[in-house]
């Protein structure tokens, strides 16, 4: 059997799992990456932000140490060390990816790919040609850019910039109260920066359950972050070395002077320069169009991850990469997005999967809802992290778990159980009957399920 030649363009979390899967399935794989292995996730997204937030949360906890009987004197932030550790972690993980690829004999080509035809690419830097039977596009995304009056003269920082600052600014205004905005906002706030978050809609993380965003907003405001909702940026101008930002709020116009202005208003698919027009690859609304098998309109070309839009999360890209690799190797696989977890790594952490209460109602489901507060969970109490809750949205008829929304300690770890529950079409009955380890915060999931199936034990 002649080996199938698979080319993967992009070494991010969509591309490298695709390359590894195809290699495992017997393909001769070439991976083309113009920057560092690991893409946005490892270099400019998930991992570096979480390194930052881990330092911030440790700092916050040690500061509160006296409750636990611990006193730390002269606790200080050394931002350059925080930054250096971030780089070290990123380097270690990207090296890990490279070594996995080498272990599976994936040829790595450093360079920028351009389509010559639907079976071959040229590496711009070297003129080298790469030919393959199947091509998987995983070229990712770039931060979306706002156009605000004044933003031609004053560069708005992106999340990329916020992860690469040399020193801490005095104050920072972040446009956009989504996942990235609140995470970086909390980090810089905890580093001692005066942070303002401006959100156009009526609440931060507007795509998530209203109770979750309400609870998170309260926690962030308590830490000293200014959150302005239903607010838009009208104009930005220089004011000495600072920036003056004119805001339109429900109460009228207001001005705020800050040292830096950043924007985190989402990301957009990136494939410019690939020359997809030349080979007639179909796009729609600025993304590569694919079906549920990740096939594009050209039979041997697949696309995965942020470049196809949809849910632009690392774990989704990885699943799509696997899916495309299997299909490219003749094993029919379809993507489904029933149970995609969404995590926010602030403290308290927030994590959600499935439908929000509102979305379930709009989908015509008759919904029943249970909440179980962190205050009633022993582990949360002993950790002094009692803000938050587990909320389960279930269908009334059979008790099907439609959505689970958690805010509180370890939420991003706890959500995995809920993801499995939704993936497996579990009902509250099975969740309630599942023995949860004690003492852990996961008991909250069991108890919330019991609220809908026989009644909770640890609640009046």
């Amino acid at each position: 059997m002649n080996k199938e030649r698979v080319i993967v363009i992009g070494g991010g979390v969509g591309g490298y799992p695709a390359a590894l899967r195809a290699a495992r399935m017997g393909a001769k794989v070439t991976l083309i990456e113009r920057d560092k292995m690991g893409g946005v996730c490892l270099n400019k997204g998930c991992i570096p932000t979480k390194v930052f937030l881990h330092s911030a949360s440790l700092y916050d906890e040690v500061k509160r140490g006296s409750i636990f009987g611990l006193t730390a004197e002269k606790l200080q932030i050394d931002f350059s060390k925080v930054s250096a550790r971030k780089n070290a972690v990123v380097d270690r993980l990207t090296a890990g990816v490279t070594s996995l690829l080498r272990h599976k004999n994936v040829s790595i080509v450093n360079g920028t790919a351009v389509f010559r035809d639907s079976n071959s690419l040229e590496i711009m830097e070297t003129g080298e040609a790469v030919v393959g039977d199947k091509i998987i596009l995983a070229t990712g995304s770039i931060p979306a850019q706002l156009s605000v009056d004044g933003s031609e003269d004053i560069r708005l920082l992106t999340s990329d910039d916020l992860l690469a600052l040399d020193s801490l600014p005095e104050s920072l205004l972040i446009i956009g109260g989504g996942y990235i905005g609140v995470e970086l906002g909390q980090f810089y706030c905890r580093m001692g920066v005066n942070v303002t978050i401006v959100e156009m809609l009526d609440r931060i993380i507007p795509t998530e359950d209203a109770e979750i965003s309400g609870a998170l907003e309260k926690a962030l405001v308590n830490e000293g972050i200014d959150i302005l909702t239903q607010t838009t940026v009208e104009k930005i101008e220089r004011s000495g070395s600072n920036k003056k930002v004119v805001l339109a709020t429900p109460a009228g116009h207001t001005e705020i002077v800050v040292s830096e202005v950043a924007q985190s208003v989402g990301r957009r698919p990136h494939f410019s320069g690939l020359n997809v027009e030349k080979i007639g690859l179909a796009t729609e609304k600025g993304r590569i169009a694919v079906n549920e098998k990740m096939e594009t309109n050209i039979p041997n070309i697949y696309a995965v991850g942020d470049v196809i839009g949809g849910i632009m999360l690392a774990h989704v890209a990885a699943a799509e990469g696997e899916c495309a690799a299997r299909n490219s190797m003749g094993q029919p696989t379809a993507m489904h997005y029933r149970a995609v977890p969404r995590c926010i790594y602030t403290s308290p952490e927030a994590a959600c999967v499935g439908m929000t209460e509102k979305a379930a109602g709009e989908a015509g489901r008759e919904v029943q809802v249970a909440r179980f507060p962190m205050q009633a969970i022993g582990k949360a109490v002993l950790q002094e992290q009692t803000d938050g809750m587990v909320k389960i949205v279930a269908d009334k008829r059979y008790g099907e778990v439609l959505g689970v929304h958690i805010i509180g300690p370890h939420a991003t770890e706890l959500i995995a159980e809920a993801v499995l529950a939704i993936e497996m079409e579990v009902t509250v009955e099975e969740l309630a009957h599942t023995i949860h380890p004690h003492p852990t915060v996961s008991e909250g999931i069991g108890e919330a399920a019991m609220v809908l199936s026989g009644g909770a034990v640890h609640m009046p």
Binding site: M1, M25, E400
Partner: protein
């Protein structure tokens, strides 16, 4: 990982099978549960499903090859291009450990309804709940989830298919009222459909002059009433006569099995009986040895118990031939569905006065039409015709049963 595909054992006496057809080529991807190959034992062909998903790496037994039970016929691998590990000779491979699953093979003696799935059905909790409520038998649903797990959407498709079938019957389409399936309805549905699908049903009708049987019954009424305390019916006589005809044509009293045709020594007569909400077939055992009085009494007893819902499962199983009559509704002629695993069923119509030609003269005679549905896998047309000829003679001259 290399997965062996072996020749399964599908019947007690099976020792080897002949590969008839491979449904997949080497290098093809096959999903667990997809039909991988077809093999044949003396007369039966069997579909064999892939024991697991994978690429068909190697076909070891080609078409027309004869392979002993437990012999490796092919190899699956999980990853394309993966090195296959050729099996070492495993002569004593236990057939019980067969990883291959064979579809729709009825065990000898087991009715297709009886084997309430001991095998684990992989289905999500939601799918199970919905299926239970909607009366969907998960054994008939194909799962689309990992490893063939049945998901809500699969049950949804099954419900849709069922709804479509109902819609196709109910024209014009109206909202209607959905009445949940009872256990009896589910069994009837499965059994009737299985009968249509799994047997080679063929039909044969004869017109019979009912003059003598009607006369005989009239003569017998006071006699039987005295002995048994019940009035004999035409059907009682017909059952007795049919039993007599079967004794002379034992091929009618048989059962198809994958290993051969099972011939029964005893005739257990099934009697199709309508209930308000369904149908049951109580059995009169060893009918050939019973006098008419005993048959009439047994019939009266099971009818009464049947109406009261007091028949035990034992009283409704084990029949080897069935008689179904719609004469009382004025139905002249109809075909009945073979009550599997029997080989034949007799459908009896009403007695109607008809002009017939006797000795070149047109005369009026009471005529009855009886129709045999028979499984052509077991009973050929000529054999059925011989039975029907005897049956006709006996109905027209009932005293011949003593011959």
């Amino acid at each position: 990982m290399t997965i062996k595909v072996i020749m399964p054992k599908v019947g007690l006496t099976m020792t080897e099978g002949t590969i008839r057809e491979w449904k997949k080529k080497e290098g093809d991807w096959v999903e667990k549960g997809e039909i991988l190959f077809v093999f044949e034992t003396e007369k039966v062909t069997n579909d064999v499903e892939a024991p697991q998903s994978g690429f068909l790496a190697k076909i070891l037994a080609k078409e027309d090859d004869v392979v002993p039970v437990g012999g490796v016929v092919g190899l699956l691998v999980k990853e394309k291009g993966e090195q296959v590990e050729l099996p070492v000779e495993e002569a004593e491979a236990a057939p019980e450990a067969s990883p291959a699953t064979v579809t729709e093979v009825t065990e000898q003696g087991a009715s297709p309804i009886g084997n309430n799935g001991k095998a684990r059905i992989k289905a999500t909790p939601m799918a199970k709940k919905i299926a239970k409520e909607k009366g969907i038998d998960l054994r008939n649903v194909t799962g689309s989830g990992p490893g063939g797990r049945i998901r809500v959407s699969d049950v949804g498709s099954a419900i849709d298919a069922q709804a479509k079938a109902v819609e196709a019957i109910a024209v014009p389409v109206s909202e209607g009222k959905l009445v949940k399936l009872t256990g009896m309805r589910t069994i009837i549905a499965r059994k009737m459909l299985a009968s249509k699908i799994e047997t080679a049903q063929t039909y044969m009708t004869v017109s019979v002059d009912a003059t003598r049987i009607v006369e005989s019954r009239e003569k017998l009424v006071p006699v039987i009433e005295k002995i048994a305390g019940v009035r004999p019916t035409i059907n009682d006589l017909l059952m007795k006569i049919a039993a007599s005809a079967i004794s002379r044509h034992p091929i009618i009293n048989t059962r198809w099995t994958p290993d051969g045709i099972l011939w029964f020594d005893t005739i257990h007569m099934g009697m199709a009986m309508a209930l308000d909400d369904g149908l049951i077939v109580p059995v009169i055992r060893d009918i050939a040895t019973k006098p008419l009085s005993a048959i009439a009494r047994a019939r009266a007893e099971i009818v009464e118990k049947g109406r009261a819902g007091k028949l035990t499962p034992d009283e409704m199983k084990g029949s080897t031939f069935t008689l179904s009559s719609l004469g009382m509704f004025g139905v002249e002629q109809f075909t009945a569905n073979i009550n599997q695993p029997e080989s034949a069923i007799l459908a009896v119509g009403t007695v109607t006065d008809k002009p017939v030609v006797v000795n070149k003269e047109v005369v009026i005679r009471p005529i009855m039409k009886v129709t045999l549905s028979y499984d052509h896998r077991v009973i050929d047309g000529a054999k059925a015709a011989q039975f029907m000829k005897t049956l006709r003679e006996l109905i027209e001259e009932p005293f011949l049963i003593v011959a």
